[in-house]
């Protein structure tokens, strides 16, 4: 190969790299604009991104990105899973482990078989392809819903149930999908024993790798190193490293073996969120939280824009019947599984049932997204024929699109109907009363100043001041009666006041440090103390507000066991 050819190839690689980089930059810019618009219109950000992606693909996209399954699975999915588990308190997850595991394990297994059978019979695709579809479409992706839960002030327990199910069913779906594809390839004939053994090995390996790496980072590294930047970088390496090590374990040891990368990253994330976070300083915790929040924003923007770009509306129109069958089948089955398994869970754990309104929301919150898309994109004509691959892709696109655009935009309405968004409205009402008091006081102060400056006659200023005082008393009365009707707001108000006071204390500390009145060593000690107090308030709020009852469940278990 001569130098000119090498230079040309290098040039192609560079221009390809620049094209990809430009696409990423453009996508980030689009995401920022979409985020601004979505916030103003109070529309789910991720759903808005899909809409924009769809529009871009319909209009002839200027964005050309690599939507290969590896990019989604190996680059985009690990940080999303890791960040989701960082926020998942183990005590709350453990309290609902029975329903979560029923939904994730039994729900996904039954869902794979039932949707597979339906698709095989009605759409006439081979059994293995039908089961592959049943598996990939069982992976729920609640990113859009969880973001909405936060905005709507939904109960924390509901978020834990939805998120917990999603984290674990992703892993089951990937394993089941792999089994179906392997059976279709004919390399390894399908047997139930083989499938169960594979599932146990793949899951146990993933859990083991996540536990070991998670322990090393959380209990050894984060406990000994005190540098926010180094510690944060290590968690990034852990997120990708645990996923890669599990998926590529066989390559490393020279065996035909791989473990669940999803379970590895989920376990590692749970370790860091529940153990590692408590072994770090408050400064590191804040840096970690901000870093992962930013990374999740960026990755979510990529994922949902890519979903929009990857879906072809023309293909959906051509395979309309298959698309409708898939949506109806998936929805009906979700209703049956969530309600049925919740009943089983109530029988197994009578003290901790999943309330009916939660079940309705869980049915409608079963959105599909990145995992389903990544899995269907791995299908090619080496395993199934062209028609089958096209049909599976269209059905997947259809279900992903329907769940995101229809369910994702109507779930807040459903939650309002079920009375699960009450908190946010009561808080807004409280803020309205507080704002009116604040405004009236500002007006009263200004009127008094005008009177004192001689701009207003004194008697006029006094009268206006009294009128303002009457308004303030009226709003104060309304605020008190509102708070009496919603006693939970009182605690929130107290916490907020303490938080505000601590912020002012920190400013005061900075001032005395700046003026040289205290030694930097003392300043550092007091800063750490203030950080700790602020972190303690966050923790108290997080563990109080949402679900005061698990306290008793655990108490009963311990007592009855003991």
């Amino acid at each position: 190969m001569n130098v000119a050819v090498l230079a040309a190839e290098e040039g192609e690689q560079v221009s390809e790299f620049i094209a990809q980089e430009s696409a990423v930059v453009l996508m980030l810019a689009i995401a920022a604009l979409v985020a601004v618009a979505a916030n103003r219109l109070r529309f789910p950000f991720t759903v808005a991104l899909v809409v924009v992606g769809l529009l871009a693909s319909v209009l002839g996209s200027v964005v050309s990105v690599d939507v290969s399954p590896d990019v989604i699975l190996f680059l985009l999915v690990p940080p999303l899973l890791f960040e989701a588990t960082l926020q998942l308190p183990w005590p709350k997850l453990r309290a609902d482990l029975v329903p979560i595991m029923l939904f994730a394990l039994v729900g996904t297994a039954v869902g794979t078989l039932a949707v597979g059978a339906l698709v095989h019979i009605t759409v006439s695709v081979p059994w293995t392809a039908a089961f592959a579809f049943g598996a990939l479409i069982s992976a729920t992706d609640p990113v859009a819903v969880i973001a909405l839960f936060k905005t709507l002030g939904a109960p924390k327990r509901l978020a834990v149930l939805v998120e917990g199910e999603s984290l674990f069913n992703d892993a089951v779906a990937v394993v089941a999908f792999g089994l179906a594809v392997t059976a279709a390839a004919g390399d390894d004939p399908f047997t139930l024993t083989g499938a169960v053994t594979d599932f146990v090995v793949v899951s146990a390996g993933g859990l083991g790798i996540g536990l070991i790496l998670g322990y090393l980072v959380s209990s050894v590294f984060l406990a000994r190193v005190d540098d926010p930047l180094i510690e944060t970088s290590t968690t990034l390496a852990l997120a990708y490293g645990s996923f890669l090590l599990a998926e590529e374990f066989g390559v490393l040891v020279g065996l035909d073996l791989h473990f669940s990368g999803i379970l590895a990253v989920v376990t590692a994330g749970l370790m860091v969120g529940n153990v590692g976070m408590h072994n770090t300083s408050p400064s590191t915790r804040l840096t970690l939280e901000h870093f992962w929040e930013l990374l999740t924003f960026v990755v979510n923007a990529m994922v949902f824009l890519v979903i929009g770009l990857a879906i072809s509306l023309d293909d959906l129109a051509q395979h309309f019947t298959a698309f409708v069958i898939a949506i109806v089948g998936v929805l009906v089955l979700r209703v049956v599984l969530i309600h049925g398994l919740s009943t089983v869970s109530a029988w197994a754990q009578p003290n901790r049932t999943v309330p009916k309104p939660y079940r309705h929301v869980m049915v409608w919150a079963g959105l599909r997204g990145a995992i389903s898309l990544a899995l269907v994109l791995t299908l090619d004509t080496t395993v199934f024929d062209q028609d089958t691959v096209e049909t599976l892709k269209v059905m997947t696109y259809g279900v992903v699109l329907f769940t995101l655009l229809i369910q994702g935009t109507t779930i807040s309405w459903l939650m309002e109907r079920l009375g699960l968004t009450n908190k946010i409205e009561t808080e807004l009402t409280q803020q309205r009363h507080q704002a009116r008091i604040f405004m009236a006081r500002a007006g009263q102060t200004e009127v008094a100043r005008l009177g004192a400056d001689g701009v207003l006659f004194n008697d006029m200023a006094t009268s206006l001041g009294r009128t303002y005082q009457r308004d303030i008393a009226e709003h104060m009365g309304r605020l008190r009666s509102h708070m009496a009707g919603h006693p939970e707001l009182e605690v929130a108000m107290l916490l907020q006041a303490r938080r505000d006071a601590l912020v002012v204390e920190r400013s005061a500390l900075n001032e005395v440090v700046f003026s040289g009145l205290i030694d930097p060593l003392v300043a550092n000690e007091l800063t750490i103390e203030l950080d700790n107090r602020m972190a303690a308030l966050d923790l108290l709020e997080e563990r109080w507000e949402s679900d005061p009852l698990p306290t008793f469940d655990a108490g009963f278990e311990e007592s009855s066991n003991g």
Binding site: H278, P487, E490, V491, R498, L539, L540, T551, A554, E558
Partner: protein, 148 residues
């Protein structure tokens, strides 16, 4: 006879409303009020000891402030009140504290919303099984769920 009633709380929601009722009851009985807040195992056992100490300290500050606010709201500034923070199983902690106090009365503040009556009633039964003094549940609207 102890000169304090024991008010038990484990969470944030609704505590202000039930606390007011407990303080009114203590004031009417001419007794003080011990505010027993429990950081239960299910929610707080995962914290390391150093951070848990800060959490306890901060909680004590908040509850002291809340007692002052509530006393002022009710116009009973002279009512003797104090805060005690304990960690562990709710029923066990209540029993331990009450045992050291002799004859008193335990008032349990119910959470808001009151979603799971069975669970709360089971807790009450557990406390009643461990102490010999009266145990009463008060809700945010001050209506007793269980008058026994």
């Amino acid at each position: 006879m102890a000169d304090e009633l024991v008010y038990v709380s484990w969470g944030g929601t609704g505590r202000g409303a039930t606390l007011r009722t407990a303080m009114e009851r203590a004031s009417a009985a001419g007794k003080g009020l011990l505010y027993l807040a429990i950081l239960d195992d299910a929610s707080f056992a995962d914290l390391d000891a150093t951070f848990l100490a800060v959490v306890k300290d901060e909680l004590e500050w908040l509850l002291d402030a809340q007692l002052e606010v509530t006393k002022a709201q009710l116009g009973i500034e002279e009512l003797p009140v104090r805060v005690l923070i304990r960690g562990g199983d709710v029923a066990e902690q209540v029993a331990e504290v009450v045992t050291t106090m002799g004859e008193t009365e335990v008032i349990v503040g119910a959470p808001v919303p009151l979603a799971d009556h069975e669970s709360i009633e089971s807790l009450l039964e557990m406390i009643r099984g461990r102490v010999t003094v009266p145990v009463d549940l008060i809700t945010a609207d001050a209506e007793g769920l269980d008058p026994t």
